[in-house]
Amino acid sequence: MIRGSLPRRLAASLYRHPRAQLSALLAVPLGWLVVAYLGSLALLLVSAFWRLDSFSGNVITEPTLQNFATLAESDVYRNIAIRTVVIAALVTLTDIILAFPIAYYMARVASPRVRGLLVVSILLPLWSGYLVKVYAWRLILNESGVLNWALDPLGLRGPGYGDPAVWLVMSYLWLPYMILPIYAGLERIPSSLLEASGDLGARSPRTFRKVVLPLVLPAVVAGSIFTFSLTLGDYITPTLVSGTQFIGNVVYSNISVNRPLAAAYALVPIVIMIVYLLVARRLGAFEEL
């Protein structure tokens, strides 16, 4: 008898031990995730408990809660966090309102041809650069921009740069991330349910309230995870279309000067997102992703 070559024996032994097979398969991606991603994140967050040596920007590695005290004492950090969350919530709400009719039309009304066209036109902006889109909005919103030009005959003015501009631009940027999950959720509702509701005497508004809405809610929540977290983490749009700051701006301006403070503040959106995701999970959003 000829013994099998090494690769053959290895293959055979892996076949006999499915667990070994699984761990070999997952070792590389999991290792990358733990070391490169979670590891560096943990390093950053640990520095929230360190403090800064004045001047040189070097970090003293003695545990302290000084950074959290700084954040708690000053109103400005609370205000910035509140502003960020409020705008993220407004953006999410706006996107839900805008996305729902479009998604409904795509899933339930449009012919396959129109549906294809709509999907492409929704995805199209995603293929162009983020900065290009924000700069386009700067051109729309500026003093002698398209919006003011269009509103001028009516005696109106656009909002100009500022918080409303941030809200507008973010709502535009993240809209596709809301439309697609809702569209997928709506498409998954069997039409037999809607017909049954009609047969039992419910008119459209009631069918919508009692059948469609509960079934599509997890998809809406899933979409809101995208719009909310993307707004929460953005810091470029606020600098380009307003003079106000988001959580990300404070982190950015402090990261090289006072890394411990930046790390401490970076914990705020992480905590907010953890709470948000826990609520989303209860609402069944993860089955829709």
């Binding site: 590891g39 390093l43 070097n58 400005v76 090289s256």
Partner: protein, 395 residues
């Protein structure tokens, strides 16, 4: 990529901490070692620079209409240049801490931080032939020299100016008052530089208008003086819609009319004037802040010979004339001025290259530290306090 850079940053900082902990700051330091001679170029050079400082060549910035002053350097030395444009002083410090770059064009609010952090090395100016021609007023300054040891070569200097649209603001305006107490008239259209170092601009204004505060150096502010400057900027905040950090953003906003008055570099004024936008840029009577940039070599430079060659090249007459004429700042030597005269007649007069009295009331960017720069002792607000205050001003 970002994450890998971050972990590299963490590693570098850990190394720096390790290196620093063995030498307490108060004892007399031994003179840092510098190379005694130079070898051949390493074929490559990686720089961190302000925008429009390294243009052309293999990996320099591409700017429409700009001359190319990197290609002649590459041809002469064989060092292929790549540049990473820094968005501001803090970003440049962060980039230099990665150890991936050979050199940086650092402003005075970055230089001392880089030196204290051990990120840049001392320079042997004997190995830089063109250094001897540099104006004396630029050598051995508090922002490029520590304990008598030089940490780089001057690139050029300029003043931060007051710019306004002449169709909105009176042509005769010559005071910073128009962006502070007088800014209400232009509510929403005032602008300022979006970095903590702008606090010094408020301090310069207070130095002239509130002598009671006894400010002698806008980068050396005790608690009372600092609070006065911060309060002034908090009041100014109500009149500002957007601050500017990228030069192009300010150019766009002055063109469209979203900004009508605020601080600027000469560069933006040049671009706007060329585009026939009705603006004027002046050095106000209270004096102003300014910059005197320094090319510094990284303490971890992988291509030190190329970096030395670059430091010599960028202050050579033709190259220094080309870069300073394009950017709109004062060249560093009489020889460079003579060249600049050929490219743009009157350049050195317009930018007061040889006029030390003009620069008397220009406070070059510097790094605030606890130990006051004007020698009053350890009672001043340090740089990280400035960063915190800037967050509070913007709200």
């Amino acid at each position: 990529m970002r994450i890998r850079r971050m972990s590299a940053l963490v590693a570098v900082i850990a190394l720096v901490i390790g290196a620093c902990s063995s030498t307490p700051g108060t004892t007399t330091k031994p003179k840092p070692s510098v190379p005694a001679s130079l070898g051949a170029g390493e074929g490559e050079l990686k720089l961190v620079a302000w925008t429009n400082y390294v243009v052309g060549g293999t990996g320099g910035e591409t700017v429409e209409g700009a001359p190319d002053w990197v290609t002649p350097f590459e041809d002469a030395t064989g060092c292929k240049v790549t540049v990473k444009v820094g968005g501001g002083s803090s970003e440049m410090v962060e980039l230099m801490k990665t150890g991936e770059y050979d050199g940086v064009s650092a402003s005075g609010d970055a230089t001392l931080r880089l030196i204290a952090g051990g990120d840049v090395a001392a320079v042997n100016t004997d190995l830089i032939p063109n250094y001897k021609n540099v104006f004396a007023g630029l050598k051995n300054q508090s922002y490029n020299t520590v304990d008598g040891v030089s940490y780089g070569v001057p690139h050029g200097r300029g003043a931060n100016l007051l710019m306004f649209r002449t169709d909105v603001v009176p042509e005769t305006t010559d005071s910073w008052n128009v962006v502070f107490e007088g800014g209400d008239k232009y509510k929403g259209k005032v602008t300022a530089y979006d970095y903590e170092i702008y606090i010094a601009d408020a301090a310069v204004y207070l130095m002239a208008t509130k002598p009671d505060l006894k400010i002698t150096n806008p980068y050396a502010l005790d608690a009372t003086q600092f609070k006065a400057a911060v309060d002034l900027l908090k009041a100014q905040r109500a009149n500002i819609t957007t601050y500017w950090s990228a030069a192009q953003a300010e150019i766009d906003a002055f063109t469209s009319g979203d900004m009508v008055v605020g601080t600027t570099w000469q560069y933006q004024a040049n671009v706007l004037e060329a585009a026939k936008v009705p603006i004027k840029a002046v050095k106000p009577k209270e004096g102003t802040t300014g910059w005197s940039d320094t090319w510094m070599i990284s303490s971890k430079a992988k291509h030190p010979n190329c970096m030395y060659k670059w430091m010599d090249y960028i202050i050579s007459p033709v190259a220094n004339a080309t870069v300073t004429v394009w950017f709109g700042e004062a060249p560093v030597s009489n020889e460079a001025c003579a060249e600049a005269e050929k490219q743009s007649p009157g350049h050195c007069d317009i930018f007061h290259a040889t006029d030390e009295t003009y620069f008397k009331d220009v406070w070059y960017w510097n790094t605030p530290s606890k130990e006051c720069l004007d020698g009053r002792g350890p009672i001043c607000t340090e740089f990280s306090e400035w960063t915190k205050a800037w967050t509070e001003i913007k709200g």
